[in-house]
């Protein structure tokens, strides 16, 4: 009886592995739907083009924590002196990409792939002030926006100043997740500091100037007062969760997560989005290839497929309603007008280019986030 159970379990455990095949390991930070996207959409296409290859996708969890886990795994292999690393393609956030390029954990590949020419946006070369040119290609762009319930909020605030007035008239109706629960909260805080310190451009473009700290702290002390009128939510998903249950009427969310929640029936289709002036940060998720990936050539082929205008149009935009990773002019011709317009239902392309901003440079970013802990939380 016991032996039979053992054998059964063993058989189950090894059923997945097929001998004589090459396995391309794709490890992705982010939500489960990113894993599903690779598994269900990209993998079958790629396997059909490359017989004998199997794509295996593994998720490491949402947010920068997910990217950090990929960094740690690669770093462990680097320190261990391994010659063939077990990750072939990784999908990571900006923050981790800067660290990983600096620590030589990644392989430059953009000039080796034909789709490399299809990206020209600044974020394809620069991650929070770090030079990542050649090492990364954006899988998609995401943006932090305010999601609000139009039944409860008739005229959503269009700027941070309006928001500040609005929360005082509608206390405990706005919620965000602080700085410890994920980047949508962090992005709200950096957006606030950009708006109220009047140094938006300087924070994003530099050069870094430590004497800006008092201005940052002053902006943050305004946030401390603002916090008395708002609800703190548990994490990126926590903000969406409270919107879902109607406990808050408005909050900052990642637009890609928002659409996933709506598609999965966890968010009312009525909820709308707005991007306030002078802007909130956004960032891409990057495709990267580890420096000693066991199947680097296959990994490049995989990215060629994933960044092709057809896949970006059909997979990224049509299936998920995410902003494309490659330049829009290459994607738009592959889509019908309706699908293209759907991408901009709530937020116009003009607003997106005006108010969709990068995160501050990493030294400023650090000052702001640690300042938040010092000024706002104490």
């Amino acid at each position: 009886m016991k032996t039979r159970m053992f054998i059964l379990a063993a058989a189950l455990a090894f059923a997945g592995a097929t001998a004589g095949q090459t396995t391309l390991n794709v490890v992705t930070a982010g939500d489960q739907n990113m894993v599903d996207y690779v598994n269900n959409y990209l993998a079958p296409k790629f396997e059909a083009m490359n017989p004998g290859v199997k794509v295996r996708a593994v998720g490491t969890g949402p947010g920068d924590g997910g990217s950090q886990k990929i960094y740690e795994k690669l770093s462990a292999q680097q320190k261990a002196g391994s010659n063939e690393w077990d990750v072939d393609v990784a999908v990571i956030h900006q923050l981790a990409s800067a660290t990983m390029v600096k620590e030589k954990l990644l392989m430059p590949y953009r000039n080796d792939v034909s789709v490399g020419k299809l990206v020209s946006r600044d974020t394809a070369k620069n991650a929070l002030g770090a030079d990542v040119d050649g090492y990364v290609m954006p899988m998609f762009h995401s943006q932090i926006v305010f999601a609000y319930n139009p039944d409860l909020v008739k005229a959503p605030p269009k700027s941070f100043v309006e928001l500040n007035d609005w929360v005082k008239k509608n206390p405990k109706q706005f919620g965000y997740n602080g700085v410890k629960g994920g980047m949508s909260g962090v992005g709200f805080v950096t957006g606030w500091v950009s708006a109220y310190s009047g140094m938006g451009d300087k924070l994003e473009k530099g050069p870094y100037d430590a004497s800006a700290a008092p201005a940052i702290d002053k902006a943050l002390s305004g946030l401390k007062e603002f916090n008395q009128y708002v609800v703190m939510t548990p994490g990126n998903a926590g903000t969406l969760d409270m919107l879902n249950r109607g406990e808050i009427a408005m909050g900052p969310v990642w637009v890609d997560m928002f659409y996933t929640w709506q598609a999965d029936g966890r968010m009312s289709p009525k909820i709308k989005l707005v991007l306030p002036s002078p802007g909130l940060p956004g960032q891409p998720m990057y495709y990267v290839i580890p420096a000693k990936a066991a199947h680097a050539q296959l990994a490049k082929k995989f990215i060629e497929l994933a960044e092709s205008p057809e896949v970006q149009a059909d997979g990224i935009i049509k299936q998920f309603n995410w902003y494309p990773g490659i330049d829009p002019q290459y994607v738009q011709p592959k889509l019908d007008q309706a699908a293209w317009n759907k991408l901009f239902t709530d937020i116009s392309p003009a607003d997106l280019s005006k108010y969709g901003r990068p995160f501050p440079l990493s030294p400023y970013f650090k000052d702001i986030v640690e300042g938040y802990e010092r000024v706002v939380l104490k």
Partner: protein, 283 residues
């Protein structure tokens, strides 16, 4: 000759028997722990420094105290719940109630912490199921419904998840208390609560303490529950550790916080050591 120590004797034998288990923990946990522990004392140039601890206290003293308070309160409540349930299972006079209770209390044992966090997040929220039920049954007014997703939510999640573990251990121990003792006291007219407190509890003190110490240290190291319920200030140290790593890549401070968390765990351990020492002397 003192009491027989067992069929195998000798210090060498004892060390040989314990060596494999110690090796596993030593190689696969203590050694890596030391590797990361030294990072907490190392400055940028590799020199010895206490700077990371200074920063930890500077930023996270409130969180350290908050963590200790949450975990102590949860441990206390877990103890009370476990004593109540295990006590009834042992002394309860109504067999059907005992049977139902025995079946009932165990379920959270099978729910991982991260899921317990998710469940409580949707259950205890302002518009969550608990408030729906309370409002629906007329116990509270809709306007007075409030969210429990703060320190209370964390405590509820911990008690919900850990109380069955301690209860299981405790009920086993209570069942083994000599039934003559209980019978005798009952015959003398002692009420059940008296029997529980005066006769049963003293005999199972050790088991209770072990269950509580294990729960205490486990709760100190759980990340998912505070992360799901309340990662905002003040929050538990595990959240700060994860945040220092994933937002700042700051391993030195993260490791310093881990060591401070370990120091909190040592408080629980001291209780245990004292008890163990008392037992040895008592033999």
């Amino acid at each position: 000759m003192t009491a027989p120590m067992g069929i195998f004797r000798g210090r060498g034998v004892a060390l040989a028997l314990i060596a494999p288990a110690l090796a596993v923990v030593g190689l696969f946990f203590v050694a890596p722990l030391v590797m990361s522990g030294v990072v907490a004392f190392r400055g940028k140039g590799g020199e010895f420094t206490l700077e990371h601890f200074r920063k930890s206290f500077d930023y996270y003293t409130t969180d350290l105290l908050f963590t200790l308070a949450i975990v102590l309160l949860s441990t206390l409540l877990i103890g009370l719940v476990a004593i109540a349930i295990a006590g009834y299972l042992t002394l309860g006079g109504h067999p059907r109630t005992v049977a139902v209770l025995r079946w009932l209390y165990r379920w959270p044992l099978f729910i991982p912490f991260v899921v317990a966090g998710q469940l409580m997040r949707t259950f205890l929220a302002k518009n969550g199921m608990l408030n729906h039920v309370l409002i629906g049954s007329g116990l509270i007014e809709p306007l007075s419904a409030q969210s429990l997703l703060d320190w209370r939510g964390i405590v509820v999640a911990f008690v919900w998840k850990q109380a069955p573990f301690v209860t299981l251990l405790l009920a086993g121990a209570m069942a083994a208390v000599e039934s003559q003792h209980i019978e005798a006291a009952r015959n003398l007219g002692a009420r059940r609560l008296r029997v529980l407190v005066d006769i049963v509890l003293p005999q199972v003190r050790g088991t209770l303490l072990v269950g509580l110490v294990l729960s205490f240290v486990t709760m100190l190291s759980v990340l998912s529950v505070p992360l799901m319920i309340n990662p905002n200030s003040p929050t538990m140290v595990t959240v700060d550790v994860a945040y220092r790593i994933s937002t700042h890549g700051d391993y030195p401070v993260a490791n310093a916080l881990c060591l401070l968390s370990l120091a909190l765990a040592a408080i629980g351990a001291v209780f245990y050591l004292r008890h163990a020492a008392a037992q040895v002397e008592g033999k």
